[in-house]
Symmetry: C2
Amino acid sequence: MDKLTIIKVGGKVVEDSDSMILLMDHFAKISGNKILVHGGGRAATDLAKKLGIESQMVNGRRITGKDMLDVAIMVYGGLINKKIVAGLQARGCNAIGLTGADINLISARKRPVEPIDYGYVGDIEDVNSSDLRILLNENIVPVIAALTHDGKGNLLNTNADTIACELAVELTGHFQVFLFYCFEKKGVLKDPSDDNSIIHELDVDSFKKYQNEGSISTGMIPKLDNGFRAKKAGVKEVLITNTDSMTSGKGTRLI
Amino acid sequence: MDKLTIIKVGGKVVEDSDSMILLMDHFAKISGNKILVHGGGRAATDLAKKLGIESQMVNGRRITGKDMLDVAIMVYGGLINKKIVAGLQARGCNAIGLTGADINLISARKRPVEPIDYGYVGDIEDVNSSDLRILLNENIVPVIAALTHDGKGNLLNTNADTIACELAVELTGHFQVFLFYCFEKKGVLKDPSDDNSIIHELDVDSFKKYQNEGSISTGMIPKLDNGFRAKKAGVKEVLITNTDSMTSGKGTRLI
């Protein structure tokens, strides 16, 4: 089976233009089939603020109202996505920008309003990779924004880590998939205050142990849950790393 | 050669949600290969206003500053494009949203700053339809926002009528192309104050005559220039019409 690299880049990477340039430089050089999945970072919150849209938070999670959804569509699906596409094209990488609505790639269901109504947030129901594989086969490079659709005409906000995971899982039947979660640290840290305390290899038991000890930062937990789900489903390699180490294989390898 | 229908929808059609629904209903029913090209209408101006970005106008044309370009990318490339894609998917039409940067579809050159600096506006240099034809061949339906790129990483604002024309011209080598310019009137009017004074057939000589008489509204002139260019380059049929008549063949036929 052919190799496929899926890179997920997080908020802080896309927020900063220097790190974006670095990301595009590195990503363009990856050989073979590849997909980039990106979140939106603070840009959506900043735009919402300028437009006077209140960012409601419940238990530390943002509620996506109708106005906030439009902002997410504009920022993730438009501004960030298309700037990455144009940047990659300038680097000789034949990128195409997609959301989960395009080519019906990712269908989701609006999250139930009980116990908490998170608004226009989608839980993934199905990844339909047939047209995506046609693109890959033509050496077209998908750049995927963290939006899905409900099949009834509505876009939905969906976590980018989860999108990267579900894509990787769906594509394991067709490729040897390498999934990289890139963020601002060099890997998962044993001690969040020490950037060099990288855990080089992590299995589920140790992850649970670190979680119980409270040593892994809470922000890392959903990312690792997704990573272990992908690993268990047959994804060849899952690595938590930063943009610099994207291609070197350094970081935290899930085992 | 296979038939290809290219529909360009103008500002006022995408501004209004009822006319958008009608457009999507009609467009989804067109059989065979098809492409939708859309402008942005007032939505970009409205968003710019809310963000305190001044819309500078020179000779009745908008100057696209850096901030205004970001707004255009967000509104045309994000909000409007992705909502149409999700709406078409809900109607069983396998849509994909594109700008000229995606799959390197439309390269443009930033317009020279002399005599007037229009800012980030692109004049089309090349339409590269090879990957677009692969999409069409897979029954994927491109929905194209009025943005191009310069191949150096920059997106540029480009007139949607011109994009539709240049796409039609490029694709005449591969398809029997039918180009429809859809706007809010039933066709080109002999008397702009009388909605029923439709010119059913228009040739270049009559167009010049009407232009000299001042009877065709000035807004129609660039649209007709594009239409006649397409017709001359071998596009099978060019029709100026409204969304209702999109499929009936009513309107103004360029001959």
